[in-house]
Subunit: 893 residues, 2 copies
């Protein structure tokens, strides 16, 4: 008996063509018809009409909005549905995060937040057993590793390379075991992974949503066009074809799609009939059994089949849905938003939460106002805004312009919110309630205070568990300043002329800040060589002989494999003083770069400024920076996965199938979240990025990174706008600035450099300013730790969990193979960790903090050991019987 | 306090862009998103969620389909909602009939059928109190008269001439008393009539259906774009503007539109909020009260206001929605469908139902099979098909081609169904079970039996209550025949050569049939002056200086006011024999005409054949026939209303407002359902038509009738297709044939001729054939009446009502002023009416047979007596208080 699991579901983007709140309310239906409030209303209604019906819900960002507005009797009803397994949460994070452009720390935070809400609202029955990333455009190994460590039993997704899928269909390897870490002991990072048969859509002809036009089941013989026989026959044909490319006698069909089930009656009424009429054919000897199901129920049946599954150890990047359609553009799309998300993670999520803990209860309600109130169902605004930004159409850059603006606005609001907490906390820690000023526009060298004040102080808060040295660059109008540190010692500082912005000059000095603490610097007015070249690809306009695919928000497709060099020569300027050496280069009016080396720095800084990209030639532009070296790379290079483990990449090659390369550039691009490197036996050149970017190694010894892109055509993947990034504020197009840090090391010790370097790039010191003289009793320096943590250990999370407890995450940040010293195990004494907090008790949780570690028992799966070559045929297996209902929930509840 | 009655409603066309069953199921949503099954599912669900909510439902054709498929518990739930007045039926006929192209007998039948279903399902609480014709394109006085006689308390509609509306808004005369008959004693045909403020749509910005894009109410202050204040202010502005053009302190808003409420939650959720937030403003002194309501509740409040209302005695034709947009084309659109509907009414509805009664129970289950089974909830198929055809996008010709085909197919199916009943009944009445053959294609002179048989008999059944003489024309291949009547007496017959079709010759003879009965004729093979001219208008292609409006299915707009004469001369042929004199004329390959005068005939017959209309000049064509006479008409002419009372028309004039004429032809067209005439003191020329057609009198002494139209542009009123009428069967375009009967009489006696003439045209004899010799015991003649009824009395309905009773309608068919003899009252003795039926008892019902006549108590309304000139100002009145709920239902239940 073939069991067909029908999984009713909706895919609700946390912002895409509309903003997240527009989607929630169903506003701006002229852009896209979608209203999540109505989806949840309708699904609950329809579930109550027939106990066989099932539904899964995914995005807690929406569910939370809805739940808040329900009456207590409706809440009780929903709890009952959850307890009975009729409504099941899958994935359950705040959003379905992007996998190519997110940083693991932000992903863990957003998952934790969503899962916590479900846990506190529904208890164990609300805990998702299945990770569900049906829409992201390629899949990161680090995401699979995180999901495994969060306790998920399995993972389902919809998009993978079309060649990969074709091979897996033939070999029945669309279900597999993913070993997602080369450092964690199996099965710690093993994740059973299933590839859904139709992306996440229903089979052709069986979409009964209000947004679809497929024929409904017409079963009244008195009316025209009775079609039950036709529907049943079409369904049996599809089910049989699907069963032929999967291993067991269970198959899954996703019955839903984007924002479907707003009127769930249409779906369920027809699904009820489908189940009824297909199963009625069992009396005629048809061996097909259809049932309402959920991914966890389906997964359970796969587990019961007790088969041996193939093993995968690489990742699912890049994603191509056809020969000339590589979704590698979005690795770089909207570079300004990508940077703003990254720095917001440092400020809003990490620093703000740390300071809330370190400052104590007064941080939430102090001199500068009130922060978030703790209650089980209140989710902090700063955390919400960061969580929403992880969505696969947020930081990915694949949303409409007005939605990108909304994400940015939310981050700015979140920061407004955090400033209250930071001010309260710093007041408590320093003993000074002087007004703190936040110069949010230092990235464009704007800070009214430093530009006008004759005396001010700078508080430098360092969220890392190790001391840092950091160059402070402030716009000023004076020509000479003195700077002294917390101990009153003079600090070397230099003023140099700036050639753009409002202020005339720039004051530069290096500061040092203690672990998880701050140091305060006082500033007083006294008086008044050849770098890498920037090149570009012209974007394809979708109009050449091989394919009509143009570059767009998702897709990268240059119109030539040879980039155009912007300029062989550059106008240059040199600055050299005791603090920094700089070469300032102008390649074109819209491309400039500063090459910097600070005193005692481990890395060379390339500060690039690109834009507005000219489009008067009617060609989109995708600007890369290319580092050409003499390193012998043998077409191999390395990129990180979500800012954590590093994977090896090889040009024109995929580890698990024989690649037929059709796009020599775009098909060799991979996401770079925090670093990429090339190496040979002697040298390793590591580039640390300040945001997620796309890049590749197209030539021997070369590493290229895409910095900015501006496109004139939509790439026909739904967003419906060219990625042109103009607005009232920047009508000429967007100017983007960023930094790359280059480090050249011997390969065996390179990680000892790039691991801390990348962490410093991710978690930057937060600068706050106070005008005039400080109160003499002000405590100018503070560290929350008794001592710096060892280099291998990263303090990933320190956040208030509830009134009396904090959530602490400590992470070993080195892969097992990359450092002789730092890859070793490390022991930490928690009692001796904090300088001001006493540890009264401790319980270990899973990675997402929604389950006690010792209660986290996951399905075990059989696999072959080691790397598997392509296996041409696989026997069918599975449990034999007919599944009458999903029994999973009886076991769980 | 201004009370705003929000009326949630859906307008569900019984076929238009999709067929009626496609609309029911929600099939072919690619054409139009609409699924009535889901609307009713959803509305019932949502009504249950809040007892304040109301909904009205209109089209019983759909409600019946839905009801049949509901569980008994759901049926119980719906009954409860109806009993509590939360679900209210309005109008309640099988469909919302067209008013310009329907015949009163078919309208009464379809209303009776729908109202009967409601009565038998829901009892008195299901009886609609309000007639609701929100969409038909102009309003007939006869419809208002029928509604009054059916017991409705009031009537609401949405469309009227834009100039008429403008005047009525200024004068606050959008609510009025319509005196809908010049013959019935007031208030018998008085109907309170309300013109809805926005057609039948919600006010701008307040459409919350899934098909609309208006902003939802966003009342969560934690989310973006809180808009409650904006919504409330916009609503108050609109309510206040609306109140300014109506008389009382109650106003109505139709919250719905075409096929809305498929997901009723969207509407109700936002309406709940609207009511809550607007009424909350009462605390701030705002004198507006919003409530869920129904038309009957609103009507009751108007009645309570006890005002004096203006009186209207003419009708609402023609309808123009702008200066060059007269909806007068559909009076003629799809002339073949219009004729098929008319003859089907005669065959399916009248004849078939009469014979079922006369033949007794064996008619339903006899030698030739089984007819409809009687049960309260089974509606006869032949009646259903006729009822559906009355819809305002059916016989009107304003549907898509595939839908027109569906209506025709249904009528053909209905006829297949009836043939069983007719055969059974005639077998019972004649005592012969010989096979009866139906020559359905006699209209195109095709009948295989008569073309090949050497001996056959013709049964002529006459559904009228008076004997008729009728010319029978049969295609034959012999050159000489003998015909004998039921008594064996020879009948004069003639064979003439035909010049088209399959058969070589045509056999013509006059037959006579008794009242409500038949006569049988035997046929045996023996051996082997200047008429009116046809002219045409070229249709507007929407491309001239005054307006872009082209002619289309709805709209008539010729590109010139002078018609093009097809040909001044005609090829002619003359036939003259003892039965008939004919002049056959060919004006063009696509226009021909036969002018006929039968022996003893009261009228001249013009048989026209038009088509396929040539379009190789890329111009649409609208073919008229024009009768030019020396009658001095003074720009006055007369047309009937739905085949019953006759109204006076005057060129470029409307009785109730000062017309600014902008379309000299189209703006002077009126619907002709059965007759039109022109007259002076001496002569009256009456034209009786065989279907509904448009016509006018543009010149003195002239009467023109539009016969056929073929158009190349859509007229942008939604149908989305040009009225081109091509299909596989007639790829070159449609050929249409029809008849006009002309009678020239002295005006005082003209009605004595045209009343019976028109009835004979509407209810034609049904011919059935039997091959070979008849059984000698066959009863060759039969009459169901003891004697013919007097000329003034028309037997409108004789149909089986249930197992033991029949429904009989007798009608005085003369207007009070039109005949000295026949306009007088008449008395009928029912006991002596039928020859084979005994009358055991009798109860008088209202016109629609859903209420005992003596229980029909309608609202009384104050009006001025006599004809009212335009009144420039009217004082505001009304009951003063705030209406908290609609109390109507408490009184009714």
């Amino acid at each position: 008996m073939l069991n067909v699991h029908l999984v009713p579901h909706t895919h609700d983007d946390v912002g895409w063509l509309k903003t997240v709140d527009q989607y929630y309310y169903g506003d701006r239906n002229d852009i896209q018809h979608a209203g999540v409030q109505y989806i949840l209303d309708s699904v609950v209604d329809q579930l109550l009409k027939n106990p066989d019906r099932r539904f899964i819900y995914v995005e807690t960002a929406f569910f939370y909005r809805w739940w808040k507005q329900q009456s207590s009797s409706m809440q009780q009803t929903v709890k009952q549905l959850v307890n009975e397994g009729r409504l099941e949460f899958v994935n359950g994070g705040w959003c379905m995060s992007d996998e190519a452009t997110t940083h693991y720390s932000a992903v863990i935070d957003q998952m934790t937040m969503g899962l916590r809400f479900l846990n506190e609202t529904f208890g164990p029955c609300g805990r998702p057993r299945v990770a569900w990333h049906i829409d992201p455009f390629g899949h990161a190994r680090e995401h699979a590793s995180m999901f495994a460590q969060m306790g998920y039993d399995g993972f389902f997704f919809g998009r993978l390379d079309y060649q990969d899928r074709a091979r897996r269909m033939i070999d029945k390897e669309q279900e597999l075991l993913w070993r997602a870490s080369d450092s964690l002991t199996p099965p710690m990072a093993d994740l059973f992974t299933g590839i859904l048969p139709n992306g996440y859509n229903p089979p052709q002809g069986f979409c009964w949503d209000q947004s679809c036009d497929d024929p409904p089941i017409r079963d009244d013989p008195d009316l025209e066009d009775y079609n039950v026989d036709d529907v049943v026959n079409r369904f049996l044909t599809i089910a049989s074809a699907q069963a032929a490319v999967y291993k067991t006698n269970h198959i899954i069909m996703t019955m839903g799609s984007d924002f479907q089930y707003e009127n769930a009656n249409l779906w369920y009424k027809n699904l009820d009939k489908l189940i009824h009429y297909v199963n009625a054919q069992q009396a005629n000897g048809i061996k097909v059994n259809v049932l309402y199901s959920t991914p966890s129920c389906y997964l359970q049946e796969l587990h019961r089949a007790n088969l041996t599954w193939s093993l995968k150890t690489d990742d699912f990047f890049p994603y191509a849905d056809d020969a000339h359609d590589f979704w590698t553009g979005y690795f770089t799309s909207r570079p300004a938003l990508k940077r703003y998300e990254r720095i917001s993670n440092s400020n809003l999520q990490v620093t703000c939460n740390q300071l809330e803990v370190l400052g104590g209860p007064v941080s939430r309600n102090g001199h500068f106002g009130e922060g978030d109130i703790f209650s089980p169902l209140t989710v902090k605004l700063n955390s919400q805004t960061m969580a929403v930004a992880q969505h696969h159409d947020a930081v990915s850059g694949t949303e409409k312009q007005h939605v990108a603006n909304d994400y940015a606005r939310r981050l700015a609001n979140g920061w407004q919110h955090c400033q209250v907490v930071v001010s309260n906390s710093l007041a408590a820690l320093s003993g000074s309630s002087a007004q703190r000023i936040y110069c949010d526009n230092l990235n464009i060298s704007v800070c009214p205070l430093t530009e006008s004040s004759k005396k001010f102080s700078v508080n430098v808060y360092n969220p890392l568990a190790r001391p840092v040295t950091w160059p402070v660059r402030l716009p000023v109008n004076g020509t000479a300043y003195t700077v002294s540190d917390a101990k009153g010692k003079a600090v070397d500082c230099q003023v140099s002329v700036r050639n753009w912005g409002f202020a005339v000059n720039e004051l530069v000095f290096q500061v040092q800040a203690p672990p998880l603490g701050y140091s305060t610097y006082s500033v007083s007015l006294v008086k008044d060589g050849p770098p890498p070249t920037s090149t570009k690809y012209n974007a394809s306009d979708g109009n050449n002989s091989q394919s009509d695919q143009p570059s767009g928000a998702y897709i990268f497709r240059p119109n030539s494999s040879t980039p155009f060099i912007i300029s062989q020569t550059a106008k240059t300027e040199t600055v050299q003083n005791s603090v920094v050496q700089e070469v300032r280069q102008w390649f074109a009016p819209w491309v400039s770069q500063v090459v910097r080396l600070y005193a005692d720095s481990r890395a060379l800084e390339l500060e690039w400024t690109v834009g507005p990209l000219p489009i008067d030639d009617s060609l989109g532009k995708e600007v890369i920076t290319r580092l050409d070296t003499s390193i012998k790379t043998s077409e191999i290079f390395y990129t990180d996965s979500n800012g954590r483990e590093v994977l090896q990449r090889k040009k024109d090659f995929r580890p698990t199938w024989h690649l037929k390369q059709s796009e020599p550039i775009a098909g060799n691009y991979y996401p770079i979240n925090s670093r990429a490197f090339i190496k040979d036996d002697v040298d390793q050149l590591t580039v640390v990025t300040d945001r997620s970017q796309g890049g590749g190694s197209i030539h021997n010894g070369s590493l290229e990174i895409m910095l900015h892109r501006r496109l004139l055509y939509d790439d026909v993947r739904g967003v419906g706008e060219p990625l042109n990034e103009t607005s009232n504020i920047f009508p000429e197009g967007l100017v983007v600035r960023g930094r790359l840090l280059l480090s050249l090391d011997p390969p065996p010790t390179a990680a000892d450099t790039h691991r801390p370097l990348a962490q410093e790039m991710v978690l930057q010191p937060l600068l706050t300013f106070t005008d005039g003289n400080l109160n003499p009793h002000t405590q100018l320096e503070f560290s929350g730790l008794q001592a710096a943590l060892p280099p291998a250990v990263h303090l990933l999370t320190l956040t208030q969990w509830d009134k009396d407890s904090v959530l602490l995450r400590l992470e070993h940040q080195f892969q097992s193979w990359e450092s002789k010293v730092n890859s070793q195990p490390v022991t930490i004494n928690l009692q001796k960790l904090f300088s001001t907090l006493e540890v009264l008790g401790m319980s270990e949780l899973n990675l997402s903090a929604n389950q006690w570690k010792d209660e986290m028992i996951r399905f075990d799966w059989n696999t072959f050991h080691g790397y598997l070559p392509i296996i041409p045929f696989w026997p069918v297996g599975g449990t034999g019987g007919k599944l009458t209902d999903c029994q999973k929930w009886k076991e769980i509840v």
